[in-house]
């Protein structure tokens, strides 16, 4: 720990033995049950998925440059947006933060040597790989053109290959459930001495809430995709109107998972930001309990909001109203977090580093994205916006603007923790600014497109929408450029980066109580927690207490 005074600071040393070099060879990685190595493998995998999804996204944007066909045919376009959705959501978003940072940091933050079930953890990763392979093989086998929502009866009648994707998702669901289960048990049983529930870092709280959703909601989507698969292959008629089935029932079952799934993606992001803000502002987390409980609140209330995806689907007006009003509560919980994050900055000692740029962007994006979510949950407004680019822009504000920003915050904040090396700060700033800018340029035009009435999943569109589409594509290329810069300097840092030292940010999160990168079993001796995390006073110093 770098509690030491800056005056006698010696140059940082790279720990001679750590989890990265404790064992050698590919086999030692593939059979590892070390949560940190599993996290690193997740990192590589989700980055690959993100790259793939990103390439699809760019292809879609280029296709939309002109109102007519540009670079691909309609069927290719339809398959591509399906793959973009499936890959980004199921292969990247859902495992990204829990799989990578949850796995890496949860035991460190708890002062544990590993997660509760290390072998199960490895199994999750393997299931993720198997599921991902099957999903992607479906792409090679002809591709699926249903959109990631698989609405029946289109999905059960489409001539394209659907089964591999459904099977892959079913397996990915298992992976997600097992990860969640593992984390819940870990948090319950493996907290270090002195680490009570109200001392947990907020990232842990967020992962806890996320895991609850994963465990409770994922079985339902597993069953649902199975039923669609059975219906498509066997003609069971459960969602088939010509046999008396109800396609709206499918929508209910699908969104019972897929709405909470949004919180599976965004809650860990909120956890990352809660911790990173405290670390970079050198401040205790303002309103700790409110943030912690609001995570649980979102997890809980998020289950009662799925019906707002069905406002124009033929659902009853009674249900529309009920789900709308509950959706508002999710907004309140998010607003609580935002207020507390901003207040955490108040009277801090803020070091403006790369993650801070993303945090600034994140705060703007989550308020704008969140409140446009409230706007589309306002029933009368949703009638116009439903299934238009407004909705696309809204959820990309949350998914990219909040989740990917948080992923990048986490990546930059914990990069030295994971690999013991620093990236180039200057390039980091440049890429961050590019991404925040490019993101706005990509998605703000899409809000306007939605206002103008352009429906989603449109291969060709009336000419009046072209200007905004071109603007959006231009923004997207900026965004892509930013990501490429990040990839380059991170890979460079991995090999040639400056040695970071054990705690380059002087962060007071518990995960920094060990060397960076950590040794194989995390701690040489079990840490004993004596105070809350993120308290930035020197020992013995008189603490100033402020109430606002």
């Amino acid at each position: 720990m770098s509690q030491s005074s800056p005056l006698n600071a010696s140059p940082p040393v790279y720990p001679a033995v750590n989890y990265l070099n404790a064992d050698r060879g590919v086999w030692s990685w593939l059979t590892t049950i070390d949560h940190k190595r599993i996290a690193v493998m997740y990192l590589v995998s989700v980055m690959f998925a993100f790259l793939l999804g990103g390439i699809f996204a760019m292809a879609l944007r280029v296709e939309l440059l002109t109102p007519g066909p540009t670079i691909m045919g309609a069927n290719t376009y339809n398959r591509m947006f399906t793959l973009h959705g499936v890959v980004m959501i199921f292969l990247f978003m859902i495992p990204a933060i829990p799989g990578v940072f949850g796995n890496f940091l949860l035991p460190l933050m708890l002062g544990a040597k590993d997660v509760a079930f290390p072998r199960l953890n490895l199994l999750s990763l393997y299931l993720y790989w198997i599921g991902a392979t099957i999903v992607l093989s479906g792409m090679i086998m002809g591709g699926t053109d249903t959109g990631w929502t698989f609405y029946t009866p289109y999905s059960t009648t489409t001539p394209t290959t659907l089964f591999p994707v459904l099977l892959g998702l079913f397996i990915l669901g298992f992976s997600s459930i097992l990860t969640g289960l593992n984390f819940i048990v870990t948090i319950h049983t493996l907290r270090a001495p002195g680490l009570g529930w109200m001392r947990l870092q907020l990232f842990v709280w967020a992962i806890y809430a996320t895991s609850i959703i994963q465990v409770l909601a994922t079985p339902v989507i597993g069953l649902t995709v199975l039923l669609v698969g059975i219906e498509k292959v066997g003609g069971f008629g459960l969602f088939d109107p010509t046999r008396g089935g109800d396609p709206v029932l499918f929508e209910h079952m699908f969104w019972f998972y897929s709405h909470p799934a949004v919180y599976i993606m965004v809650l860990p992001a909120m956890g990352v930001v809660s911790d990173a803000i405290a670390a970079f502002a050198r401040k205790n987390v303002f309103g700790y309990k409110m943030i912690a409980y609001s995570s649980l609140g979102i997890a809980f209330v998020g289950f009662f909001a799925w019906g707002h995806h069905l406002f124009v689907s033929g659902q009853s007006s009674f249900n529309d109203g009920a789900f709308a009003v509950i959706s508002m509560l999710v907004g309140v919980f998010t607003a609580i977090k935002v207020f507390n994050w901003v207040a955490t900055l108040y009277r801090g000692a803020i070091a403006v580093k790369t993650p801070l740029i993303y945090i600034c962007g994140f705060l703007f994006f989550i308020v704008f994205g969140g409140m446009t979510g409230i706007a589309v949950a306002t029933v009368s407004l949703d009638v116009h916006w439903h299934d238009t680019y407004f909705v696309i822009a809204h959820f990309h504000f949350i998914m990219v603007g909040a989740v990917i920003m948080a992923f990048l915050i986490a990546l930059h904040y914990w990069f030295p923790k994971m690999f013991g090396r620093m990236y180039h700060e200057g390039w980091g700033m440049v890429a961050a600014s590019l991404i925040v800018l490019g993101f706005n340029a990509t998605f703000i035009p899409q809000f306007l497109l939605g206002n103008a009435g352009m429906p989603r999943r449109y291969y060709m569109y009336p000419e009046r929408f072209q200007a905004l589409n071109v603007a959006s594509t231009a923004g997207a290329s900026l965004l892509a450029f930013g990501f490429i810069i990040i990839l380059v300097y991170l890979i460079y840092a991995l090999v040639r980066g400056k040695v970071a030292g054990d705690n380059p940010w002087d962060s007071r999160g518990y995960e920094w109580n060990t060397s960076s990168p950590p040794p194989k079993h995390n701690f040489d001796q079990t840490p004993i927690i004596t105070q809350d995390s993120h308290l930035y006073q020197e020992p013995g110093e008189e603490v100033e207490h402020v109430v606002i």
Binding site: P107, A112, K113, D114, A116, F117, P118, R119, L120, L123, I177, L178, L181, N182, I184, V185, H188, T189, L190, V215, L216, A217, T218, P219, V220, G222, L223, T224, L227, I230, E231, G234, G235, F236, G237, L238, D240, R243, G244, G245, D246, L249, H252, M253, H521
Partner: protein, 216 residues
């Protein structure tokens, strides 16, 4: 799954736990969480049942009368009895009675087989009658609209349940093998307990399926 942390013959304490009690606690919590996911998995199917029963009340009522009540009732009794024996098996192993435990587990597995055989005979009849799901439906006896959906729901729920019976049975066979090899004792018996929990869940699901499909 949760069992995996205890695959070594002696009560094995994984390096990241301090005490066996804590490890057992973790493993039990993990199992209950898994049972929770199973509950929600079946909840989706029960939802399908409820929705179509709501729509096609008549057809469901009529079609339920064409299921073999005695096969269903026998299966209920078989499963309840097997649930009893698996509970007794756990009780026996906590008292160190390995042979009794093995015997009771064997009986449970036989019950599971009996259940599957009876279920298979029922399925066979349905296949012959043409009382099949969705587009395969060509059963003349029940003509009310929605009858095909009753059989869709019937085959989906009982089919998924049967898969769980097979999985549960496999777990019990594995536990039986380990019991016979003397892996369990008064101090170490968590796998028996967890296998039992899974089997009870299979029983639980059937307790609801039986009246919903056969009786009303």
């Amino acid at each position: 799954m949760s069992l995996s942390d205890a695959q070594v013959p002696v009560p094995h304490l994984a390096h990241h736990y301090e005490t066996i009690e804590k490890q057992d606690y973790a493993v039990r919590l993990g199992m209950w969480l898994f049972l929770g996911t199973e509950v929600l998995l079946f909840a989706g199917l029960f939802l399908g049942y409820s929705v179509y029963r709501h729509f096609y009340h008549e057809a469901f009522h009529e079609a339920s009368r064409h299921l073999d009540l005695w096969a269903g009732a026998t299966n209920t009794i078989v499963l309840i009895t097997s649930s009893l024996t698996v509970a007794l098996a756990y009780h026996a192993i906590t008292q160190g009675k390995t042979k009794l435990c093995a015997g009771l587990l064997t009986f449970t597995i036989v019950c599971a087989c009996a259940f599957l055989v009876i279920k298979g005979i029922e399925y066979h009849h349905k296949f012959q009658e043409g009382a099949l799901p969705g587009k395969w439906y060509h059963y003349g006896e029940v003509t009310a609209p929605g009858a095909n959906l009753f059989y869709t729901v019937y085959f989906l729920t009982t089919g998924l349940h049967a898969i769980h019976v097979i999985v549960g049975m496999s777990i019990l066979i594995w536990i039986l093998a380990r019991t016979l090899r003397g892996h369990f004792s008064t101090t170490y018996n968590v796998p028996v307990e967890l296998g039992g929990l899974y089997w009870h869940l299979v029983d639980l699901v059937w307790i609801f399926l039986f009246p919903l499909l056969y009786l009303i």
